[in-house]
C-alpha cells in the first residue's frame, strides 16, 4: 500500500515560513490537537524532520503543515510545487493535548509557534474555554495566522519587538498583565522559540498560572526508539516523542534544551549553503508570494 502525499495548495506566510495542504488521509483520520508528524522528502538519503500538524480536513483527508525554512530539508520543502509530493509523512505522533473546560486559557504564540498553537487554541475554544491570544514576533511580517487566531480568540493581543505591528513589546509583557488580572487565567499555553517559552514560564510561575508548553526537539524516529529528543523535566529525563510533546512548562529545563537544539548547527549551515548554491545554479528563485 502506497499512500500519496500530494501537495494540494501552498503559500508563503512570511519570508521563511511556508504552508501546504497535503494529502495524508491516515494522519488526517487519526490526528488530534497537539500532535505532530515526521516528514521526509527523499526515501533514500533524506532527513526525517518533525513538523506540527497545523490543521486538518478529515473529509478531504488532508493536513496542513507549516514550517520555517531553516536548513536544507526545509528549504527543499519550500521549493516543492503544488501537485508535487512529499515522500512520506508518518504519524500522528506524540500525545494529544489534554482538552477540557478550564475556564480562561491564555494562548501565547511566538513566530512559527503559532502553527502548533492554533489547533490547540481551537480545540480549547470548542471545549468552551475563553481564549486570550497573545501573538508575538520580531517584526510585522513574521506574525503568522493572525486572522485565524482573531476568529477564535475572545481577546487577541499582537506584539512585535520593533513595534511595526501591534504593541511594541515581548510576549511576556501582556502575559504578565493578563496573569495579574483578577480572576487570573486558569491555564496558559505557550509555544514558540525555547527562549520565549522559558521566559513565559518564568512569568506564569511567579503569578502561579499553570502553563503547558509544546517542545519541538531534534528527533529521528519519533516513536520512542532513539532518545535524541530527550529533555529534562522535573529533574527526570523525558522523551518528547512519547512522553510529550507537551509538558508542564514550570518543570522543563529550557537551558539544557536550547543547547541540545543547537547540536547540528555547523552541519546544517554547511548543508544549507550547499543547497543555496545548488538552487542558484539551477535558477530557482522564490516565485510563490504571500497567500497566492
Amino acid at each position: 500500500m502506497n499512500v500519496s502525499h500530494k501537495i494540494l495548495s501552498k503559500s508563503q506566510l512570511s519570508e521563511n515560513v511556508f504552508t501546504v495542504e497535503v494529502e495524508a488521509p491516515l494522519v488526517a483520520r487519526a490526528r488530534k490537537a497537539g500532535q505532530f508528524v515526521i516528514v521526509g522528502i527523499s526515501d533514500d538519503y533524506g532527513e526525517r524532520i518533525p513538523l506540527t500538524i497545523a490543521g486538518v480536513d478529515t473529509d478531504k483527508g488532508t493536513i496542513r503543515l507549516i514550517w520555517q525554512r531553516v536548513g536544507k530539508t526545509t528549504a527543499e520543502m519550500a521549493d516543492l510545487k503544488i501537485g508535487e509530493s512529499i515522500d512520506y509523512i508518518a504519524g500522528p505522533l506524540g500525545n494529544p493535548t489534554h482538552i477540557e473546560k478550564f475556564g480562561t486559557v491564555v494562548c501565547v504564540g511566538g513566530g512559527i509557534g503559532n502553527a502548533p498553537l492554533l489547533p490547540i487554541a481551537t480545540a480549547m475554544k470548542e471545549a468552551g474555554n475563553k481564549i486570550i491570544g497573545i501573538l508575538g514576533a520580531r517584526t510585522k511580517e513574521l506574525i503568522i495566522l493572525e486572522d485565524e487566531f482573531a476568529a477564535i480568540s475572545d481577546e487577541l493581543i499582537v506584539v512585535t519587538d520593533d513595534g511595526s505591528h501591534g504593541r511594541k513589546a515581548l510576549v511576556t509583557e501582556p502575559l504578565q498583565e493578563i496573569c495579574s488580572r483578577d480572576p487570573k487565567p486558569d491555564l496558559a499555553v505557550a509555544i514558540g522559540p525555547a527562549i520565549m517559552m522559558k521566559f513565559c514560564c518564568r512569568t506564569t510561575k511567579q503569578l502561579d498560572v499553570p502553563t503547558q508548553v509544546s517542545l519541538n526537539t531534534i528527533m529521528v524516529d519519533g516513536t520512542g526508539m532513539c532518545g535524541g529528543c530527550r529533555v529534562e523535566v522535573g529533574g527526570k529525563t523525558k522523551f518528547v516523542c512519547v512522553d510529550g510533546p507537551e509538558f508542564d512548562g514550570h518543570q522543563v529545563n529550557f537551558d539544557l534544551m536550547m543547547k541540545r537544539l543547537g547540536a547540528y548547527r555547523t552541519q546544517e549551515q554547511k548543508a544549507s549553503a550547499q543547497y543555496a548554491e545548488h538552487r542558484c545554479k539551477i535558477g530557482l528563485t522564490d516565485t510563490i508570494r504571500k497567500k497566492q
Partner: protein
C-alpha cells in the same frame, strides 16, 4: 591448484576409498573467515567478513563428525537440521544444504552473519569440545552464510496456500515480523506488515551496520515477502496512526503480531547526559545506518557528530557496532568503556576481535561517573571510576565494584550509551487489556499469545533484549499459533 584444493581432493579420494575417520576430520585445519584488510576497512562501510570459498566451505564441513546425538541442533533456537546441511555442504550439494536450512529458517544470509553461534549451535559442538575451544568447533554460521550467499537464484518464492480470507496484521518489519509475515502468508492468509520507519527491515536496517550485514541482503528478504503477496506499509505507527483495537474491529484484521522491537534507550542516569554529543546507541546507529549520515553533505541530509574522540559505554554487540561505526565516521580515538572484565562482555567474540583489530581501545573495569561539558553544552570529557570484580551477582557474573578515589578523566567529544533498552510504551499505552510486566514488556504464553484474543507478540518487546534469532524463533512459534487460531476461527 591451491593447497586447500589439494587437501580437499585428497580427503575426497580417501572418503571414496575407505571413508574418513574422526582423526582425519580432526586433522583438517579450522577454516578461517577471510576478512577485509583491517586498516583499509576503517575508512569504508563494506562488509568485513568476506565469506568462504567453495573449497574452504567443504573443508570446514568435513570437520563435522556427523554426531548421532546432534548437540548442535539442540543449541539452535529454531532447530535447523545442522548436521544434515553441513553434511550436504561436505558433499558439495549446496542447493540441498540451503533447502534443509530454509525448512526451519527463512533468513540464512542474515542468521549466518549475526547469530551468536558460539553460545548456540557451536557451543556444544563435539569438535570444539575435543579442542577445548568453542572457536575450533565446526563454524556453523560461516557455513550457513556460505550456502545463503551461494544461492544467486533469488527467485525461490515460497509457495502460498489458497486464500483463506483471513487477515493478519504484523506490527514491525524486523526479523520477528518478517518470519511471522512469511509463515502466515504461506498458510494463505492476507498479510499486512506495518512499519513505523520509512524503510522496512527494523533493526536489520537501522541497527546492525552495513559492514556486518549488507542492507542489500535484508532488502532481498523484504522483496521475497512482497513477491509472496505480503503488503508492507511503511510510515504507519500502530498505536498512533491506528490502534490495535481499530485494526481488529474496524479494519477487519483477525490476528495481530506485535514485534515492535527495542524501546526507550537506557541512559546511565549520571550528570552530563543531556550534553550535545551524548547519544544513545540507537540514535547513533540509526543516523549512521538507516539515514546514511556517513554521506552527510555528499548526498545524505541527516547529520551526525563529527567526532574525533569517542567513548562507547557497554560491552554488547550494539556497543561494538557503535564503536566500529565511529571509527568509520572518522574518529581518531575510540574507547570502549565497560565496567566488568572482557570475559563478562556479552558481545560476540568475533565482534570483539574485529573491534580490536580496528584499533578500538578497550577500557575494561571502568565506568563513567559523569560526563563533562563546556559552556556551549558540548561534551569535552568523561570522568570515570575504576572497578574491580566482587562476588557473582544474580546474572552469575562477578559483580563490578567501584574502587574509591580511583577517579580519572578521559578526553572525549562524543559519548555513545549502549547499555540496552526499556520497553516501547506506545503499544502498551494505546492497547487496553494488554497485559504488561512491571518493566512494560508484553506478557505472553508459550505460544507467544498475549492476554488479548488473537493478539500475539515476540522479540524485544517481550524478551527485553533479544537477538535476531530469538526474535525469529518467537516469530515462528507465534505464526504457527496464529495459523492454528485462524483455522479454528469462523
Amino acid at each position: 591448484m591451491t593447497d586447500d584444493e589439494k587437501l580437499l581432493q585428497q580427503l575426497l579420494e580417501k572418503q571414496k576409498t575407505g571413508g574418513l575417520k574422526p582423526s582425519d576430520r580432526f586433522a583438517i585445519p579450522s577454516q578461517p573467515m577471510p576478512t577485509q584488510d583491517e586498516v583499509e576497512r576503517r575508512s569504508n562501510i563494506d562488509e568485513v567478513a568476506l565469506g568462504y570459498t567453495e573449497t574452504s566451505a567443504r573443508l570446514e564441513a568435513m570437520r563435522c563428525l556427523q554426531c548421532k546425538n546432534t548437540p548442535c541442533i539442540e543449541g539452535c533456537p529454531v532447530k535447523i537440521r545442522i548436521k544434515d546441511f553441513v553434511g550436504a555442504i561436505a558433499d558439495g550439494n549446496f542447493g540441498e544444504a540451503l533447502d534443509i536450512i530454509k525448512a526451519n529458517s527463512l533468513l540464512p544470509a542474515v542468521c549466518g552473519r549475526v547469530c551468536p553461534q558460539e553460545v548456540q549451535c557451536q557451543a556444544p559442538c563435539t569438535v570444539g569440545k575435543k579442542f577445548k575451544d568453542v572457536e575450533k568447533g565446526v563454524a556453523v554460521g560461516r557455513l550457513e552464510r556460505f550456502v545463503a550467499d551461494w544461492d544467486k537464484s533469488g527467485d525461490s518464492i515460497p509457495e502460498v496456500a489458497p486464500a483463506t480470507g483471513k487477515k493478519v496484521a504484523v506490527i514491525g518489519s524486523g526479523p520477528g515480523g518478517v518470519v511471522v509475515a512469511a509463515d502466515t502468508r504461506r498458510a494463505g492468509h492476507d498479510v499486512t506488515v506495518f512499519e513505523a520507519f520509512h524503510k522496512p527491515g527494523g533493526v536489520l536496517v537501522y541497527g546492525i551496520p552495513e559492514f556486518r550485514l549488507p542492507k542489500a541482503i535484508v532488502q532481498k528478504e523484504i522483496d521475497t515477502l512482497t513477491k509472496m503477496g505480503v503488503d508492507i506499509v511503511c510510515n504507519f505507527v500502530v498505536g498512533r496512526t491506528r490502534t490495535i483495537a481499530e485494526l481488529m474491529k474496524e479494519d477487519g484484521f483477525d490476528a495481530v503480531y506485535i514485534g515492535v522491537g527495542a524501546g526507550l534507550p537506557r541512559f546511565m542516569g549520571i550528570e552530563g547526559e543531556h550534553l550535545v554529543g551524548v547519544y544513545s546507541a540507537n540514535e547513533y546507529l540509526t543516523r549512521a545506518n538507516l539515514m546514511k549520515a556517513y554521506k552527510f553533505g555528499k548526498g545524505a541530509d541527516t547529520p551526525i557528530a563529527m567526532s574525533k574522540k569517542v567513548a562507547v559505554l557497554g560491552g554488547g554487540n550494539v556497543a561494538m557496532d557503535s564503536a566500529r561505526t565511529a571509527v568509520r565516521l572518522g574518529a581518531e580515538k575510540v574507547y570502549l568503556v565497560y565496567r566488568r572484565s572482557e570475559k563478562e562482555m556479552p558481545a560476540r567474540v568475533e565482534e570483539v576481535h574485529h573491534a580490536k583489530e580496528e584499533g578500538i581501545e578497550f577500557c575494561i573495569l571502568q565506568n563513567p561517573k559523569r560526563i563533562l561539558g563546556n559552556e556551549e553544552g558540548y561534551v569535552t570529557g568523561m570522568e570515570c571510576l575504576k572497578y574491580e570484580l566482587g562476588e557473582p551477582d544474580d546474572s552469575g557474573r562477578r559483580r563490578p565494584i567501584p574502587i574509591k578515589g580511583s577517579e580519572f578523566t578521559i578526553d572525549v567529544d562524543t559519548v555513545i550509551v549502549a547499555i540496552g533498552n526499556g520497553a516501547n510504551p506506545l503499544i502498551g499505552q494505546t492497547t487496553p487489556g494488554l497485559e504488561l510486566s512491571k518493566w512494560g514488556n508484553i506478557v505472553v504464553d508459550e505460544n507467544c499469545k498475549t492476554s488479548l484474543e488473537g493478539v500475539y507478540a515476540g522479540g524485544d518487546i517481550v524478551l527485553g533484549a533479544a537477538t535476531v534469532i530469538l526474535a525469529m524463533g518467537q516469530g515462528r512459534v507465534a505464526a504457527a499459533a496464529i495459523n492454528e487460531y485462524l483455522t479454528g476461527k469462523a
